[in-house]
Symmetry: C2
Subunit: 146 residues, 2 copies
DNA sequence: CTTCATGCAAAACATTTGCAGCTGG
DNA sequence: CCAGCTGCAAATGTTTTGCATGAAG
């Protein structure tokens, strides 16, 4: 996984290149996303930013996250129940393992996924440009609490 | 793929077993879902049902779809943009190929997915109970229109 | 300085809920 | 008959939008 500082610098560089401003609020959001081990939700980011900037609004978080998504600097993980989680650490498609109890999300290193993608392309004639792979289950910690 | 008639019968059987009533509206919804080649949205189901029952309400569609989801007779596919699509034909997890242009969704037959699941379980210690695999791309028809 | 971002509040949406009346079994 | 379903309308919850003010560059 990339060092958080690297990711932060990459994000900042992209914003500067595209002439978007670096505001204190944005910087705070970037920092959280760049080191997002926990794949935070918008609400979680909001609460963290408010610890530093008490007047920050949810709208600002949404606007920034959408901006970063369009710049391909954050990966959006939407779930059927409407919850959205964000990964600024690895902003490209990759498999996830989601605990259905505590909602923690991990990134396992899996081989042979690209193989599946070409199989899908071959069998359907689609030109594949993106993917999403989630496994749902119960994490070791929650299993212990059973 | 199961014959639509088989799926319809299975759904009806499950409803009867659990003592849920077979109303004309429900029957119409079941028929659509049982033969859901197109992975319809709630809105799409609503429009189709209204052709037969003009006074049907959206709430009824939602209630029925949620009921079927809880009975494991329909698979819900939620997407980050908030759109939900339903598959009553194969109500168990399976890979999808989604056209980002026309939104059509196909079911490719892919091997070696269970292999990935065990790899994920092994590497994370999770007890895997469900999964979701989507490939996004451009279908042959939309490629032709390029 | 000028333009863009912020933050508030209101709007927009999709989905859910409450409830009176209807109807399947 | 009568529990459960329907359909309406109102409520909900989340994300988006408009706009006046403020700050980045």
């Amino acid at each position: 996984m990339a060092a958080p500082q690297d990711r932060l610098d990459q994000m900042l560089a992209k914003l500067k290149t595209r002439n978007f401003r670096i505001t204190p609020q944005r910087l705070a959001i970037l920092k959280i996303l760049a080191s997002s081990e926990g794949h935070p939700s918008v609400e979680r980011i909001y609460k963290q930013v408010k610890e530093t900037f008490a007047t920050t609004s949810l709208a600002t978080i949404y606007k920034t996250v959408i901006l970063l998504k369009h710049l391909n600097e954050v990966l959006e993980l939407g779930f059927p129940d409407g919850s959205n989680r964000y990964d600024g650490n690895k902003p490209y498609p990759h498999p996830h393992v989601v605990c259905v109890r505590c909602k923690r999300i991990l990134d396992p290193d899996l081989g042979s996924l690209s193989q599946l993608a070409s199989e899908a392309a071959q069998k359907t004639g689609f030109k594949i440009v993106d993917h999403r792979l989630d496994f749902f289950g119960i994490c070791p910690e929650c299993q212990r609490k059973e």
